[in-house]
């Protein structure tokens, strides 16, 4: 199996471990990830109100680049990137004038053949639970996990799971025998876009999420978004300082937990790059040590 890969800007630096772990687990699953050659930023949240055409043209360029290199499917781990790429594709399919305008702006002749895939959807439908289960070497049993989706299920064009109570991530983790807990802040906003500009708001929102996960007995929180991860992990100590709390909840990417269950090397899946280290928790739970029968 081969699929196009659009890492997005965060996965190059602050979310490096997301990139590393995805590459590692896909290699283990024998799926070839072909990075889109010379991809550029998708525009994220800044472009769409500052410049409408730019907001369309930037993702469009990547669709074009993917198509030109023979890819008809692209996987974008970041929910915002995924939403933009998918949305632009759908818009140009509907509106031929828009397609023409983008072709003039960017160049090339997009044949509308590229499908965007989200990580969760891809893992469930294209890879399948059976294949995931068979790649398991270490059981995640004993690990109480809070799956955090953030705004993923609400993003325009994203239609992969129930909006208010998504379960895809939980199902994938359960395939590896992880114990996912029901909790109230599964889809609450973490304040990602305000992380730098209004940090105190992001801290307040992120704190509620941590509190709620802890309230339901979570050992760790699993995410699929670089910004969510950054807020929950990188800013956890800031939250402790501001609110006098003492949270020490590891925030892992889904791909990292999958990599763990596949028995992959700690460093290869970037577990050493997390600010709140998961080492103590995992040793406690005997996850890295006990092989599955």
């Amino acid at each position: 199996m081969q699929i196009g890969y659009y890492p997005g800007c965060s996965l190059e630096s602050s979310a490096k471990e997301f990139d590393l772990s995805i590459q590692a687990i896909f290699k283990e699953l024998e799926i070839s990830l072909k990075e889109i050659p010379d991809w550029s930023c998708c525009g994220a949240s800044a472009a769409h109100y500052l410049n409408e055409e730019l907001a369309m043209a930037l993702p469009y360029r990547n669709l074009l680049k993917a198509e030109e290199s023979g890819l008809d499917q692209i996987l974008s781990p970041c929910p915002a990137c995924y939403s933009h790429l998918k949305h632009v594709h759908e818009e140009v399919v509907k509106d031929s004038h828009l397609l023409e305008r983008l072709q003039n702006l960017v160049g090339g002749e997009y044949q509308k053949k590229v499908t965007s895939k989200h990580l969760l959807d891809f893992l469930k439908k294209d890879v399948g639970f059976e294949r995931l289960k068979s790649s398991m070497k270490i059981s995640l049993k004993g690990l109480r996990i809070a799956s955090y989706y953030g705004c993923l299920t609400r993003l325009p064009g994203v239609d992969i799971d129930d909006i208010e109570n998504p379960v895809l991530m939980d199902e994938i983790l359960e395939a590896f025998e992880g114990e996912t807990i029901p909790w109230s802040h599964k889809t609450e906003c973490c304040g990602a876009s305000l992380s730098l500009t209004r940090t105190e708001i992001a801290l307040r929102l992120t704190r509620s999420i941590l509190e709620s996960a802890l309230d339901k007995g979570a050992d760790c929180i699993v995410v699929v978004c670089p910004l969510c991860q950054s807020n929950l992990d990188t800013r956890q100590r800031d939250i402790n300082k501001k609110y006098g709390t003492s949270y020490e909840i590891p925030i892992l990417y889904l791909s990292q937990l999958i990599g763990l269950a596949q028995g992959l090397d700690f460093k290869k899946i970037g577990l050493d790059r997390l600010i709140i280290s998961p080492k103590k928790l995992l040793t406690q739970k005997g996850v890295t040590l006990s092989p599955s029968p």
Binding site: E12, S14, N51, V106, I163, T197, T199, T234
Partner: protein
């Protein structure tokens, strides 16, 4: 002081329809948007009040408020609205209008940040996070903000010093130069 209701009461509402496709007159002010908004406590005008201002044709308070800039675009309001109004889209339109009006925005820092974001893309084709954060801190006169996170992230290999310049940068520069702010005219 009494409030003057203008003659062409539908003008602003029609303008919002033409930019966003959303019709504020469908709103019955149930308030579910405000009830679910994560940043409502920090907003100066609540989401349902934003729609009310559109309904009564009063754009001015909206163009200079903080609300439209601290809106996190989490879409909670849009997915729960019983009248199926995509309020997040309306917020986006108001941001566009606010910039067009050239009046000082309610949260200059957000506009600054987003402009720096696009600048980074224009220079390299991708966002160079370290440079973006540093430039933002400098232009907002908070040079030491989040400085404590720097060494932490560095030690975890989460900071890229140099950033990556794509090959097709000329294409990017051209896109920036020729793209228009609005897909359709504001009139």
């Amino acid at each position: 002081m009494s409030y003057l209701i203008s003659k062409d009461i539908h003008q602003f509402r029609n303008q919002i329809i033409s930019i966003s496709g959303e019709d504020a007159s469908k709103c019955i002010q149930c308030g579910k948007c405000t009830a679910g908004c994560p940043v409502s406590p920090e907003m100066d005008i609540q989401p349902n009040q934003v729609l009310r201002f559109i309904q009564i044709n009063d754009p001015e308070p909206l163009l200079k408020c903080k609300t439209i800039w601290i809106c996190a675009s989490c879409q909670t309001c849009s997915v729960r609205c019983p009248e199926e109004i995509e309020i997040a889209k309306i917020m986006d339109s108001l941001r566009k209008l606010s910039l067009e009006s050239q009046a000082p925005s309610g949260e200059e820092r957000v506009v600054k940040f987003d402009n720096l974001f696009l600048d980074s893309i224009q220079k390299r084709g991708r966002v160079h996070e370290l440079e973006l954060v540093m430039r933002y801190n400098l232009t907002t006169f908070q040079p030491f903000k989040d400085a404590h996170l720097g060494p932490l992230m560095l030690s975890r290999g989460k900071l890229s010093f140099l950033g990556h310049k794509i090959k097709g940068l000329d294409q990017i520069k051209r896109i920036f130069k020729e793209s228009k702010r609005f897909l359709r005219s504001l009139e």
